[in-house]
């Protein structure tokens, strides 16, 4: 590589709250021009979830450096990226193989801080995400919305080790400070990864994103995927991603990661919370713009099925992930058999939890069955959030907490029926335990 030349020519600059910014120091248009399109027109391909996520990052001109470390079930994301980059003779994108997940997280800090206008992606899972924790929490507070950490869900802990996907990893990291968005299905994975930096890098938000999808169920199973031409992807992202108003290490005089007293720590945390709350404002707008451009639903707080216009239902289930599809398929049949109005919510935005939208959606449900798919010491991460969202209602729906699909087990139709029966019993006045675990049509 040719070393740039030292020169004393003045460089335009202006002051920011974080130090001087030199807008001309990095000519981003050069990076954009060097991008080689992966797709020049819309195509329908077959891909698994990891490939869908990888293709989305490869299509972004702002992604030029891919750091990673293998861990099941996210590994194929890295392999897919590496395979495409290896094929591009003269291409300028680079893969960076690190020695551990923790190093990946540190590397993301350094890279994202170096140039705040590029997107730095990686993918990990389970204990890999745990291993990153020391630094993901720095990242969450950093203002580096250009970090894109794809979490391929897998049960955490190695006693016992389970390589299949339940979202206990992402749910254990609710306080890391990332915007966490759950996906189900390859198309939603691809579309979400394309939209995530638009949200994270929005000047009101500046918060890293953690899109995620279920390991094995979605990461390793193939399905049809519509991929958009790179030019369209760029047009969409460029509408939303403007040059960062704050200096990075390369284009500024600035300091990251100072040591502060508790008094000043408060201010940082207030700012972090406010930025996170602004996600609730911008996410639907980005999603709507995506839908206008590509004709598919964009980012949303949640997906729903079965709600009438007035929202009044007997039983509403709240869950996340691809097993919601089984519920969608059997819902009408169960409703007809039971004589109940049954509807469902599949959460997409986990952090920040869209309290107001969830409350509005569920306020006319008589009972809400929250299906948690990750281990929790109490009633479940999702249950706590739903309960918080509904707490202010004058008449609060009965909340029934269940667990199913732990360790990535399929939630079968029989299991859904049994859980709905459980909710129905509670609705009818039967006392149910604070939580119950279901599997293969039985309460364990």
């Amino acid at each position: 590589m040719k070393e740039p030349i030292a020169t004393a020519a003045p460089m335009p600059h202006h002051a920011t709250p974080s130090g001087d910014l030199y807008p001309d120091a990095v000519r981003l248009e050069r990076v954009r021009e060097a991008h080689r399109a992966l797709y020049t027109e819309r195509e329908t391909i077959t891909a698994d979830g990891n490939a869908a996520a990888a293709l989305a990052t490869l299509q972004m001109w702002r992604c030029v450096l891919y750091a990673g470390f293998p861990i099941t079930p996210s590994t194929k994301w890295m392999e897919t990226v590496a395979a495409h980059i290896a094929k591009q003779v003269g291409g300028k994108k680079r893969v960076k193989l690190m020695e551990a997940e923790h190093a990946v997280a540190d590397y993301l800090v350094g890279a994202a801080a170096a140039c705040r206008d590029l997107v730095f992606p990686t993918a990990t899972s389970s204990v890999g995400l745990d291993h990153m924790t020391e630094t993901t929490r720095s990242l969450g507070a950093s203002g580096l919305g250009n970090v894109l950490l794809i979490d391929v869900y897998r049960a955490t802990a190695n006693f016992p080790l389970c390589i299949e996907g339940d979202p206990s990893d992402t749910l254990a990291h609710r306080d890391d400070g990332f915007i966490q968005i759950a996906c189900r299905g390859k198309q939603q994975i691809y579309d979400t990864v394309l939209q995530a930096p638009c949200l994270g890098m929005h000047h009101d938000v500046l918060t890293p994103t953690m899109p995620g999808y279920y390991g094995i169920k979605d990461s390793h199973r193939n399905a049809r995927l519509i991929v958009e031409p790179d030019a369209e992807v760029h047009a969409f992202q460029d509408r939303w991603i403007q040059p960062c108003p704050l200096p990075g290490l390369v284009n500024g005089d600035t300091a990251f990661g100072t040591c502060v007293t508790s008094r000043h720590f408060q201010g940082f945390k207030v700012s972090q919370k406010r930025r996170m709350e602004r996600v609730l404002h911008w996410l639907p707008q980005i999603g709507a713009d995506f839908e206008r451009q590509f004709g598919r639903p964009g980012l949303a707080f949640f997906d729903t099925t079965g709600f009438p216009d007035d929202g009044a239902v007997d039983l509403a289930i709240v869950t996340m992930g691809p097993d919601f599809g089984t519920f969608e398929a059997m819902r009408e049949q169960y409703a007809a058999k039971s004589g109940l109005r049954v509807a469902g919510v599949a959460m997409r935005l986990l952090t920040p939890f869209p309290r107001d939208a969830v409350r509005k959606r569920l306020e006319r449900a008589k009972a809400v069955v929250v299906v948690n798919q990750a281990h929790h010491h109490g009633r479940g991460h999702l249950t706590l959030d739903v309960a918080d969202a509904l707490a202010d209602l004058a008449v609060m729906p009965r909340i029934i907490s269940v667990f199913a699909g732990l360790g990535g087990a399929d939630v079968s139709q029989a299991t859904w029926e049994r859980m709905l029966d459980h909710g129905r019993a509670a609705l009818g006045g039967t006392t149910v335990p604070p939580w119950a675990i279901f599997h293969e049509g039985r309460q364990l």
Partner: protein, 337 residues
């Protein structure tokens, strides 16, 4: 190579305002590194959690880093710094290096950028050894400065893998059952050479010209350059005010941490430290200046020299033996091509 006077007259990016202890070698080293790096290139500096970090990058205290008094028009004086966790300095620097290089490769930047990382020995050799060795292994073009005060000073002077044998630390206390640190230090110089560093050195500002020349060479290195800076810690080593530079020099001369510079392909040399023990200052004089070794030596009222305490002669001899092996080790490493 620049002249010593030229470097001495430059501005340093390590500015007034740090809360490092008066007499701390780290501040002297960082001031010098700051001056050497004032060379027409923009500087990106990463720093792991350490005394040097918490004492210089604190808010609302003065952040003791920056471009100095130069006009912000001058991008060559631009300075950025980043801190993350203890072990992160080499990885952060490597990332900044890669981004700078990839931007240059795109033609997106046209001014040179140099990247420097700093850690303590706890950050680099204990919790961060993996990070350091892998950054070296990946041949990242950064300069890594490891400030070796032989303890986790920032957390209260606990043992580190660089602690000298028999040294009293807060986790290797002196008692009837144990005479301070029972372990030999990690051979970190050899580890860095073996991992593939382009340059490895051990030198403190007590050897002023050699120090700045070494940092300048390190900044010009095509791969990872690692400079270990012996950093007498006035609070942890417990020595008298005003002895910092003297102690740094004496420790190097008596073989505790000889000055050493090695470059891949060129070999190296031990500087200002004789191979034969008889030609070096007495080890007891080095030990005697520090209260962390006062269980081993005491001043002889008759001669005025420090001598082994009664009953501690075998420990002092073991210490002497370790020092000799330390010197021999570095002379052998210097012969590596």
């Amino acid at each position: 190579m620049s002249g010593y006077k030229d470097i001495a007259l430059r501005e340093s990016s390590f500015r007034p305002g740090s809360t490092l202890c008066p007499g701390c070698m780290e501040s002297i080293a960082l001031q010098n590194v700051g001056r050497v790096s004032d060379n027409g290139r923009k500087t990106i500096f990463s720093i792991g959690t350490s005394c040097a970090e918490v004492s210089s990058l604190a808010f609302p205290n003065v952040v003791a880093w920056g471009r100095g008094d130069a006009s912000p028009d001058d991008f060559a004086k631009s300075f950025s710094i980043i801190h993350n966790v203890f072990e992160s300095a080499p990885t952060l620097a490597e990332a900044a290096r890669d981004v700078s290089d990839i931007l240059a490769d795109h033609g997106a930047i046209d001014r040179p950028i140099q990247v420097i990382a700093a850690s303590g020995d706890g950050g680099a050799l204990a919790i961060g050894l993996r990070s350091l060795l892998h950054t070296i292994y990946r041949q990242s073009r950064i300069t890594m400065v490891v400030l070796v005060n032989e303890i986790f000073a920032n957390t209260g002077f606990q043992y580190s893998p660089a602690t000298t044998p028999f040294a009293e630390t807060s986790t290797t206390p002196v008692g009837e059952a144990q005479a301070g640190n029972p372990r030999l230090p990690l051979d970190y110089i050899h580890l860095c050479i073996a991992a593939g560093a382009g340059m490895v050195a051990q030198v403190s500002p007590a050897h002023g010209k050699l120090f700045v020349k070494t940092i300048e060479k390190a900044l010009a290195c095509d791969t990872t350059a690692v400079v270990f800076v012996p950093a007498p810690c006035i609070s942890g080593w417990k020595f008298d005010d005003g002895e910092t530079v003297h102690l740094a020099e004496l420790g190097a001369q008596c073989g505790a941490y000889p000055a050493f510079v090695w470059e891949r392909g060129k070999g190296g040399a031990v500087k200002d430290c004789a191979r034969e023990a008889d030609d070096r200052p007495r080890l007891e004089e080095f030990l005697g200046l520090q209260r962390r070794f006062h269980h081993l030596v005491q001043k002889d009222p008759a001669s005025g020299q420090f001598v082994a305490r009664p009953g501690r002669e075998p420990d002092v001899e073991r210490m002497r033996s370790w020092t000799q092996s330390n010197v021999e080790r570095l002379f052998r490493l210097a012969e590596l091509p």
